[in-house]
Symmetry: D2
Subunit: 357 residues, 4 copies
Amino acid sequence: MSVSCFDHPFLSGLLGDDETAAWFTAEADIAEMVRFEMALAHAQAAEGVITADAAHAIEAVCRDFTPDMDKLKADTARDGVVVPGFVRQVRERVDPEHAASLHRGPTSQDLIDTSLVLRLRHVARLIDRRTEAVVAALDEASRAFGQNVLVARTRMQRALDIMVGDRIAAWRDPLIRTRRTLSEATTHLCYLQMGGPTGTLDPAMGRWPAVKERMGIALDLPVSARSWHSQRDQLVAFADALVRLSGGLGKIGQDVALMAQDEIAEVTLAAGGTSSAMPHKNNPIGAEILVALARFNAVQISAMHHAMVHEQERSGAAWTLEWMVLPSICVATASGLATAERLISGISVIGRAPLAG
Amino acid sequence: MSVSCFDHPFLSGLLGDDETAAWFTAEADIAEMVRFEMALAHAQAAEGVITADAAHAIEAVCRDFTPDMDKLKADTARDGVVVPGFVRQVRERVDPEHAASLHRGPTSQDLIDTSLVLRLRHVARLIDRRTEAVVAALDEASRAFGQNVLVARTRMQRALDIMVGDRIAAWRDPLIRTRRTLSEATTHLCYLQMGGPTGTLDPAMGRWPAVKERMGIALDLPVSARSWHSQRDQLVAFADALVRLSGGLGKIGQDVALMAQDEIAEVTLAAGGTSSAMPHKNNPIGAEILVALARFNAVQISAMHHAMVHEQERSGAAWTLEWMVLPSICVATASGLATAERLISGISVIGRAPLAG
Amino acid sequence: MSVSCFDHPFLSGLLGDDETAAWFTAEADIAEMVRFEMALAHAQAAEGVITADAAHAIEAVCRDFTPDMDKLKADTARDGVVVPGFVRQVRERVDPEHAASLHRGPTSQDLIDTSLVLRLRHVARLIDRRTEAVVAALDEASRAFGQNVLVARTRMQRALDIMVGDRIAAWRDPLIRTRRTLSEATTHLCYLQMGGPTGTLDPAMGRWPAVKERMGIALDLPVSARSWHSQRDQLVAFADALVRLSGGLGKIGQDVALMAQDEIAEVTLAAGGTSSAMPHKNNPIGAEILVALARFNAVQISAMHHAMVHEQERSGAAWTLEWMVLPSICVATASGLATAERLISGISVIGRAPLAG
Amino acid sequence: MSVSCFDHPFLSGLLGDDETAAWFTAEADIAEMVRFEMALAHAQAAEGVITADAAHAIEAVCRDFTPDMDKLKADTARDGVVVPGFVRQVRERVDPEHAASLHRGPTSQDLIDTSLVLRLRHVARLIDRRTEAVVAALDEASRAFGQNVLVARTRMQRALDIMVGDRIAAWRDPLIRTRRTLSEATTHLCYLQMGGPTGTLDPAMGRWPAVKERMGIALDLPVSARSWHSQRDQLVAFADALVRLSGGLGKIGQDVALMAQDEIAEVTLAAGGTSSAMPHKNNPIGAEILVALARFNAVQISAMHHAMVHEQERSGAAWTLEWMVLPSICVATASGLATAERLISGISVIGRAPLAG
């Protein structure tokens, strides 16, 4: 299927990003849930909550686990989350003697949110690198053309001359600042989620602080005193930063599309899009796509903020809403960065040479 | 890939809808574009614009056409639309003598928008039938439980008793009205798109009114005097109606989730979701999903309205934005209807029996 | 205060519309609530539910009613709606003998929603007339310049020549269609709201069908069998049509701003905005404002769709959300129409004269 | 006028906040623009760009300046910004000999953005204090009731018991974190805007670094090397933090409304709203208002992100869009904090006493 342009056989070439999308496959998600269960089992074994044999039995199954995806789909439809079905499938394969030692303590959300932040951390790194690359491309453009002259335009009208470097700085600085904010937001977001059914963990099951500590080390995630099941502010802050990043790219795209107008011709781009009807055209596709992605993300971010109205200890409605928009926000941001880098690197001229003085 | 929950191996079981999604595959899209080219060739042949031999040669290729999808993806990335690459692939396979007779006159948007409305018409039918089914389920529930008593609640507080039939009527009537509006919006939307590069068709190519008339008959689409390339109001009106439909379902979901609270227990649902941690729970998954889908669509619709700011004769940015959200709006609506029907049909009691009088 | 640009001493000159805003004053709202109480009292008197003397006593107070606004503000803060405080103020002034005959049967929502649709009907007429005026201005522009030549532009690049009339038609037709839809939506929306506390009216209070019929005649509103307290689809459909109207204007504004660029100069506008720093500039203010208003409304409409998730018999949260955005949507639409008419009427040339043939 | 609930004679009692709104009056805005002109004149005099006499003449007029608001409204309608009209009014009152020394160098945006951040800094302080007060109220509630028992609820169903303190912690921690982020965002945002017509200041006018430095000291604002005319990321980051704050309050409101349901009765609130029809009701108005404000802001934030697509050196469309939503976001956030504090302080019980052990 291909309801989303990001999953679509041909539209994903234009709008999507395979490298980022790879973190949102069912397989990638399940791989992290499997790591979660292994980390939990080993931590519980080390703390004497389950036996070492049980932990090894669980690890053995997890290492080789491939889900029956059709069954998982049907179970998810019934349960509203993938985890009960996932745990059933894993448990069936564990020696019955140790089956009860699997998934002792956590709730669905612990697996899903932990899997999410483990993958978002990779996405954040990828976005960080790409932002750096866009900034580098802008710096290179500034070195090459920064001394050229450009007519500043305000309210869509010619104002006075500026240097090309002035406009490029206005493109670059928001990316630099937002990159830094995203890095901080990622740090604040990426914590182990481990709260059990109600966020408070069953004390009877024992030794949670130590178990969590060990899980955090195994998964390379910091551990907080409380679970963040119903506290979604850091996830929203992360998404906010992504969307500001694509907003900054949208400005670049809008500016380039305006500069590329035939009569204005302040920029010369690498070969653009061809037309099925007009061979003479050289469409600034990348620039338009940056605008489309920015507006897409500017719309999606609203859903993330609505999802903060997350009732009680777990809202099926609000939490599900996050699943419906966050992966797309990530891919749209990453795709925009790749598009921007190509667009900027493909500029052969901006502005006009300054008059010899 | 599975960036979107609607395309996702297991989340699509919960949130997606395979039957609707089938209209948004690359294959379904290309199938309609192929039909467009055949209808155009035959119409132009009938009007003497191209030869009958050419039309037959084109048809022969089109009938068997299977795209090289990787190439199409790369071409779409460059051109911003699939059509130039698609036409190149078809043309390569047509006898060189007739190759120039393929795709004479239209622009990319003619194929893409016509393909879209041909498929949206199917989607609208499916949604119409499902709405009817939800209304029927509500009527059935009203017959079964309508005389039961329910505490009306205003501002989340108990007010006075009403009959279950009163609340069900408030669920049903918006669906009935919106179903009718959607039907009208579909009628107004589903017109042949045929305007050529700038929406005005090249008169030198000749005989357009007759060619369009014939294409309309072949594709079973009415024909308008002007193309609607840059006039997106009817598409937005169509989306508005869909989103109002899912808003109506969201109210049902919210009400059911509230009625299903343990202490209130005004509704008994068919077995709900299981929990990985709490075997006693019977979660009202379907009800929550209706709320999530309604909020998702309430967010997405904003993008459709932004896309009306469609500059000049074709906006790459605004048009692309439609592609990014409209399929998801359709699937979310259809999925909500299926979920609602299951939810309502699975109700075993609502309200309490009236006191014998 | 002037938190909103529409209420602001100087920004309202740019973005607001005094004529439309007049329908959203506290005074205009209270005037309709007063009419509601009078219509109710007379209808109940005619049906023998209250005495004729009571009705006259109520009318006498209502005719002269001026609220203590500070008290109303404090009461609204406590009650969440204005009506309890309003009724208290009216009742205090009614002869104690008849005081109990005031406000027999309705709930707050009956007054507020009825007052709303009575005023929205005026707003709809105003918007209808203004849309007609914009269409007339476009027709006049088409008569004057329609035969001029313009370069069609697709994806921000020059395509081929079209006539100015072609582009104007693409501006006009969505307005014509949406005007028609708005008229239908207004008809479907403007019904008497009269349902009592839970939407079902207290049968013990008696003779409701006849009372409602009489109220409908007095207020010139059709009457429905059921109240629409929790059925907000028609209100949202009304708002959807408004926002499509401003979307259509946004396209005009975007196009004009692009045509007015110095190097392109495809349109000559009446004197535009001056600059505090650059006397040579002639900014296309009206065109930009149309874009800003369109995007504003494209954002706001999302809230109206969220408000359809209106739980139970009355949602304080969802209903309040309507109050927070609907007046602004109306004013933004009306203001856009006035701006568009001025902009279009002020065009002294579009396009270039066709070559003599 | 009272298009907006925040400016409305009685609705502002429920939804608005007079203290915050005071920062968004025309008078407050003009007061800061006047301070800007004085700071500029004195700085330029100190650097020898204008004479000390001119600076004193300008200050004398500025100190007493009261605008002709009707004229300002008409001028804003024409110019798209208030500044040209404002400067004309000030200049008319300055001795002609010194009139040319007024407003030497800046553009409209310098005054408007500097005035904005000067006022947003006050708003941020007010919001900071109120957030602290809400956190304090939560801490007090936790001290009083934290050891009480509450049924945790997930997916709207009873899960297992937690302590009241567990839920309160989930309300409080997002506020604490977001308060910190808002403080940082405010610091990053509140910079002098001083770029002249194109953001680069006219070097011929001379001594800008020193003039800016002096202005910064006078206005107590840090100074950046470049203007941020077209770099709106920090303004959006500021708004993002506000909206996350109201999202956090929305969760509290939703939880309280659910807890206050009659059958559940997990919270006892101070007297709530009265009903015009049902004297027995005690509506949790404040809780519902928190939800409405959160959803309102979750919608508005989308506009701020769209406004990042700010073309060229100044976008009339994108910049105007900020003016249309940012004040409302600020007031909705502040109003929510005041509402939350009242709501929480008015709680007389949450949860049930733990069984004696």
